[in-house]
Amino acid sequence: MHSIPGRRIIMSAFLIFLLVPIYWLVNMSFKTNGEIVSTMTLWPHQPTIANYMRIFTDESWYSGYINSLKYVVLNTLISISVALPAAYAFSRYRFLGDKHLFFWLLSNRMAPAAVYALPFFNLYSAINLFDTPWAVALAHCIFNVPLAVWILEGFVSGVPREIDETAFLDGYSFPRFFIKILVPLIASGIGVAAFFCFMFSWVELLLARTLTSVAAKPISAVMTRTVSAAGMDWGLLAAAGVLTIIPGALVIWFVRNYIARGFALGRV
Amino acid sequence: MARIDLVDLAHSYSGNDAPPESFALKPVTMTWRQGGAYALLGPSGCGKTTLLNLISGIVTPSRGKILFDGTDITPLSTQKRNIAQVFQFPVIYDTMTVGQNLAFPLKNRGVPKAEIEKRVAEIARLLDLTPDLNRKATRLTADAKQKISLGRGLVRSDVAAVLFDEPLTVIDPELKWQLRSKLKALHRDLDLTMIYVTHDQTEALTFADTVVVMHDGRVVQSGTPAELFEKPAHTFVGYFIGSPGMNIVPAEVRGREARIGGHVIALNRSYEKLPSGARIEVGVRPEFVDVERPAPGLLSANIERIDDLGRIRFAHVRVGDAKLAARVPPGFSTNSNSAALRFDPAHVHVYADSRLVEGAA
């Protein structure tokens, strides 16, 4: 009754559709460039881990990952911390301009990165944050903070007001109530919001590349220099790509229960 | 309308091989009369919703058969069983008007349009929903929505039985009474078999002619409210029904006497062959135990508190380690905590391992 006839076939077909291109990338990452260019094989006939070794040992490569991780983590922390009090305010109070503020925030989530590329370039250069993880972290806040506020507001609204009132009656100060009572209650909400912040910041490319040049170069920028004198280094490129997928895969695997629970709460 | 027979029906949510004691519904064989108004009463987890879902077909039993008018309908799906079920919260189709909601079951069965309109109008009139027929169903209040849920069940003229799963849970208290009376009136008018699941004894006792009490997956007693009150077949029934519930105290019983705390109480019937090794208790409702001044020949007790309920007063007393409730006769007053209890032998029952023992006359 819940699902449709043929659901197993449909789901399997779709999952295969999703996995094949990824498999192809993984396949390629374990091949030598020679094998890639000369033959078309469904699995590596001369498997090699040289591509991965190159990335793990070459500082210019693995620093790309570290730089990316830096701004992603920074951004998630900033976004969640500023979004929490705001989510509480939107959920519990009505105040002057609240609806307009909420809409303005939401519209920023929809801001096209392309529009901000140049202005950000100028802005962050002017305040000397260019080519640091801070620039990217703050830039990503434009769309991550509204998203975090939106998600967290839903979860805070799921906590009955009576809990706040009881805490205040019991003598809790507002910061103490917030940290000791409210935050644990919306833990899965914070997990969901952090997941989405991580996700959107990790995958974004345009701003990350525009606001960095050498020192804070993210992996996406590093991946563009895989052309050498011998031609395109496909194996290396594929390995680098696979390594960017792994953090994402790990994160989903670990939060899969939160996501399932968040879905069950119907809070989306 | 149908007579419903349950034949050795049992169910376990963990599969047929689960140990018998873990079954959500232990084997039960009983008959539900055509046109009867039944209440399935019991605390949460006693198996009443399982039993209801077995009858409606939402759950397939691990064991046993269900017959409607003698026909085995156990393998039939819910759709084919011609029952109606009203759930704990109103289930309505949001996108449809009240009228469309009511017409839905008939439309699905291919009933001609003129007939649909007739039935919908009739049911709407019965449920006082006529002014709302063209309004969107989502805009109504919770009790109106429950009436729509009920109406969808009644609109089919061949419905065998109407099953209710705690339908008044989300209704405001003032409206509960109205809806309950409406259900009773409907039962009289339409002569349908109705089975009403609840954990609230007031609802059960006011709605049903026959109350089926369940405990821990077993049907413990089935009878009229009066029978359940006067002669509980199980200590659980005694304790669950009536407020306050029946007093259950351990005792030694021999012949026509019961010994509680050294004191002898006369019994109306004779109990010779009690199962050895069983836990023997006597049960007597507080309404049949009177509080009196201490006197020799009466069981002494200490009054802990007296509840004045207006029409009647109950004293909560302590006898040794046991706590009992007893009726305070009008006009009785005392300054001290000491009192005595007088038992009415006609209403003292003997239980072995929680089950009523029929004594000899």
């Binding site: 705001a86 345009l206 991946m223 994402g248 | -």
Partner: protein, 300 residues
């Protein structure tokens, strides 16, 4: 929930306001500034008023021609992917297993494309579609189709569309799945009792309950597809020629490629305005749709 009126709530909101305003308003002000000026380099600016805007909307000029053409491509692109991703997402959501380990496995695989950096998504399909080293390109060509996304417009479009479907359908599917999960079992049981057919169950119960999440999904997909940059850029670079040059690609070309600040700024503003208006339209629809139901709903 009843909210109390409390202007002091602004203090709670201030950090968010500050962070976003810093990132949004400040740059926007420079953009507005630039949009009305012209420069011959050397940091000398001349006032141009609404000159750039006029050019933008005039198809006969170079700027206007490029803008309007890319806008058309974007609208066509969004329409096509919405038409594919929304029904497909619903179907996938309806095909999810009910319980057990398979649910977790499906969720993880579905979420995987969403967590791949967008340039890697582009790279995957760039490789996958090549006739020499990519499985798709190789298979298609050996089956007789002359598939080459570098030189053929249609192939480039097809590749970009399939890539987006591959990338984002999961989002629609996951959102719809969330909506479906929130439907209590009793609704399905009641529908069974009412003798409803499978299609009637979809129409009367599942689709209405998915309304809210579908609207969110359509909003997100329309917006994101309208702003798309990285993935098509990595695969086709906007080509062949400019057949897959979308508005954002055009904008970045003008802004960071040609450093034509005035034109870029004007383009940015108009681009932003279109998005803002669309967002507002969706937002109004969403809040109105939510206001339809009475606040007290009895239910689990």
């Amino acid at each position: 929930m009843d909210k109390t009126v409390n202007q002091k709530a602004w203090f709670l909101v201030l950090p968010v306001f500050a962070v976003v305003a810093f990132s949004a308003i400040l740059p926007l002000m420079t953009v507005v500034n630039y949009s009305m000026q012209d420069t011959f380099g050397n940091n000398q600016f001349f006032w141009n008023g609404v000159g750039w805007f006029k050019e933008l909307l005039d198809p006969s000029t170079d700027l206007g021609g490029r803008f309007l053409a890319s806008l058309g491509r974007n609208l066509f692109f969004s329409a096509v992917i919405l038409a594919i991703e929304v029904p497909l997402g619903i179907v996938v959501a309806l095909s999810m297993p009910r319980q057990g380990l398979s649910v977790a496995v499906c969720l993880v695989i579905l979420a995987l494309p969403l967590l791949i950096p967008w340039n890697v998504v582009g790279t995957i399909w760039q490789i996958f579609g090549r006739p020499d080293i990519g499985l798709l390109g190789y298979v298609l060509n050996s089956l007789g189709f002359n598939y080459n996304y570098v030189s053929n417009d249609l192939d480039a479009w097809a590749t970009v569309i399939v890539m987006d479907v591959w990338h984002w359908t999961s989002l629609v599917a996951l959102l719809c799945y969330a909506g479906l999960k929130s439907i209590p079992d009793a609704y399905y049981q009641a529908a069974q009792i009412d003798g409803a057919s499978r299609w009637a169950v979809f129409k009367a119960i599942q689709l209405p309950k998915m309304n809210r999440v579908l609207l969110i999904a359509v909003l997100l997909r329309f917006m994101d597809s309208f702003m798309i940059y990285t993935e098509p850029f990595v695969v086709t670079g906007g080509g062949p020629g400019n057949s897959t040059t979308f508005v954002s690609i055009e904008l970045v070309k003008i802004a960071l490629g040609q450093f034509d600040l005035g034109k870029a700024a004007a383009l940015s503003l108009v681009y932003n305005l279109i998005i803002l208006i669309t967002c507002w339209v969706f937002y109004t629809i969403m809040t109105n749709a939510g206001a339809d139901r009475p606040r007290k709903e009895g239910g689990a």
